[in-house]
């Protein structure tokens, strides 16, 4: 992929709490010199924005007015930075809605279009240096499953975890996934594909471990992150059993012309260096009634989404009529992301 560093926003140095503290730390009297530095910024609007942003509360604890102020600050900042009218939405959970997701693993052809649609929608960093993708598609080989095999061989030769067959023979699907598969065409004859993203757990271990409570579960079941309060300790990454969270090791690279200007405070607004991010069920879309970008793009219609509390929703019909399983149900995380088969 051609590198897109050219449009990287290099001029904007004071984008995060850490940057501010680091810059301030270079002076002897941190707060005063920090203020002096901010006030000497050639663009006073930006300086004010930065100043107030650094001292804002955790989003969850803000009053409605404070939320509105924070949102307006960000809209000004992003519109200036990306050279277009950017909106930051703060729509809260809708009453009576609990979001659920279902994916038909029998249908998925492993085309990774969901991955790229997610990047286009959610303003992830792209390019060679700092690539972030929230969805991973695993390729799994189909094992062999024949009576003769089972009867003629002894203890399994392969160390792969076996699914199906009996204890003496690798059979069925061998749970050894490939992330970097690159065949000419998909689907391949001998493979299954297994997409993974944040499961929006009902009991999310990532929330439990976060020392600053910047990540939490909203009433509609979406586990969200207030990026301004993330200290980048990456505890949540360690706690998540589904490999769902990503860390911005460097300054994100988001080309101006590709930036999606329709954003949500807790979702796809541009992130800064040193914060963790993950799938938010496209909160900027779904709280407005739209389907997620990955649901819309999947060319085989393998992805279904909806309100778990509505008995007539597609997602409830999937749960009622199909063969459904959840990933690592043994961990009691209660994912709201279901896999199913016809």
């Amino acid at each position: 992929m051609p590198k897109q560093d050219s449009s990287k926003t290099k001029d904007n140095k004071l984008t995060s709490r850490r940057d501010f503290l680091r810059s301030a730390g270079n002076y002897t009297v941190a707060s005063l010199s920090g203020a002096a530095m901010l006030l000497s910024d050639p663009k006073p609007a930006k300086a004010n924005v930065t100043w107030e942003e650094h001292f804002q509360k955790n989003y969850r604890l803000m009053t409605d007015e404070e939320k509105q102020e924070a949102i307006e600050r960000l809209e000004t900042r992003y519109s200036e930075e990306y050279g277009k009218q950017v909106t930051v939405d703060g729509t809260p959970s809708i009453e009576g809605v609990l979001f659920g997701y279902a994916l038909n693993i029998q249908k998925c052809i492993g085309c990774r279009r969901c991955v790229k649609a997610c990047v286009a929608e959610n303003n992830q960093s792209r390019g060679d240096e700092q690539q972030i993708e929230w969805i991973r598609v695993l390729r799994m080989e189909k094992g062999k499953f024949s009576e003769a095999d089972r009867d003629q061989h002894g203890y399994p030769e392969s160390f792969g975890v076996q699914v199906g067959g009996n204890a003496y023979k690798p059979a069925g699907v061998v749970l050894e996934g490939q992330h970097y598969y690159e065949p000419e065409q998909v689907p391949e004859k001998d493979a299954f594909y297994f997409p993974m993203q944040c499961m929006q757990c009902e009991k999310p271990p990532c929330v439990k471990v976060c020392p600053v409570r910047t990540t939490y579960r909203d009433p509609d079941g979406i586990v969200v992150i207030d990026y301004n309060w993330c200290i980048g300790c990456r505890m949540c990454i360690g706690a998540c059993p589904y490999w769902a969270r990503r860390f911005n090791w460097g300054e994100p690279n988001l080309p101006k012309e590709e930036m999606n200007p329709v954003t949500h405070y807790l979702g796809n607004r541009p992130r800064m260096k040193g914060v963790v991010e993950k799938c938010s069920f496209c909160v900027q879309r779904t709280r407005k009634g739209r389907w997620t970008a990955c649901v819309e793009v999947c060319p085989v219609g393998a992805r279904k989404f909806g309100n778990l509390l509505d008995p007539n929703s597609e997602i409830r019909k999937v749960l009622a009529k199909k063969k459904v399983f959840r990933l690592r149900a043994d961990l009691n995380t209660y994912p709201k992301f279901f896999y199913y088969m016809d």
Binding site: I109, W291, G301
Partner: protein
């Protein structure tokens, strides 16, 4: 796929190759560029600006498929015309009509009026399939009919004397805009699942009363060659989007292709 890897030295070369080999794909999301919605070569859609800075669709620069819908309802008509028995009374359901797509060059219309109107070409009285002698140029997949495992032929689906129509069990015509009425004749279970929203694709709004674009059977499946190559998934094989970047310092992904223990078939001990 070295173009997507970290080889800085190859970068320029790859870029050049990229520009020369795929002029259409070299520039991302430019208006007037065309990409396909579901099946390559079928349901093409052109990128247009619908409001300042917002396009109707974004195309993938690597595979030429639609990656993102800015306007999920462009070119759709109300589902009401489709006359299906699904319960979409509490939502606004729309579809993209198939006829304009299929009859882009007016071939269907012309053929139907010129010869296949019941006057010129004799109406077959035997239902024994015979190889198609003509039209192999206009119906390239005619000799590759992989539908129904050889048990059906052209006139099981196409109307005898109205070539712009499909046919139902009683000999009445079905519009190409409503292929599900034809497909549902044999694939009842899938049809029901589709009606319930469990099979197939929808875009637009998830919520009650929201507006949804339903996708009909032939938008995703090729009715002449449903099996589509080796893995019979009913869906055309296509080029996948590029793999994620390898972790820093890793040169290839051989580790994940390696088996920790050989399968007996490969080691040869029985």
């Amino acid at each position: 796929m070295t173009c997507y890897r970290n080889h800085q030295t190859l970068f320029g070369l790859c870029l050049l190759l990229f520009l020369f080999t795929s002029p259409l794909l070299a520039t991302e999301n430019q208006t007037d560029q065309e990409c396909f919605e579901s099946r390559d070569g079928m349901s093409q859609v052109r990128v247009r600006e619908i409001s300042p800075g917002l396009v109707n669709v974004k195309c993938s620069s690597t595979t030429g498929g639609v990656l993102w819908w800015g306007d999920p309802f462009a070119g759709t008509i109300p589902m009401g015309d489709m006359d299906i028995e699904a319960d979409y009374s509490n939502e606004e359901a729309v579809v993209k009509p198939r006829e304009p797509e299929l009859d882009k060059n007016k071939m269907l219309t012309i053929c139907s009026m010129a010869c296949h109107d019941g006057n010129y070409v004799p109406i077959p009285h035997s239902k024994t399939p015979r190889p198609l002698k003509m039209h192999l140029d206009t119906v390239p997949d005619a000799m590759n009919l992989k539908h129904g495992k050889g048990n059906i032929w052209c006139l099981d689906c196409h109307h005898l004397v109205e070539r712009t129509k499909l046919i139902d069990n009683f000999g009445y015509s079905i519009s190409f805009n409503q292929p599900q009425k034809l497909c549902g004749k044999c694939h009842g279970q899938v049809y029901r699942a589709w009606r319930d929203g469990l099979h197939g694709k929808r875009i637009g709004m998830w919520d009650k009363g929201g507006k949804k674009r339903w996708w009909v059977c032939t938008e995703c499946h090729n009715p002449h060659d449903v099996e589509q190559k080796e893995r019979n998934s009913g869906f055309a094989q296509l080029r996948p989007e590029p793999a994620p970047n390898l972790p820093k310092g890793m040169v290839n992904a051989d580790h994940e292709r390696m088996h920790h223990g050989a399968h007996p078939d490969e080691t040869g001990h029985e």
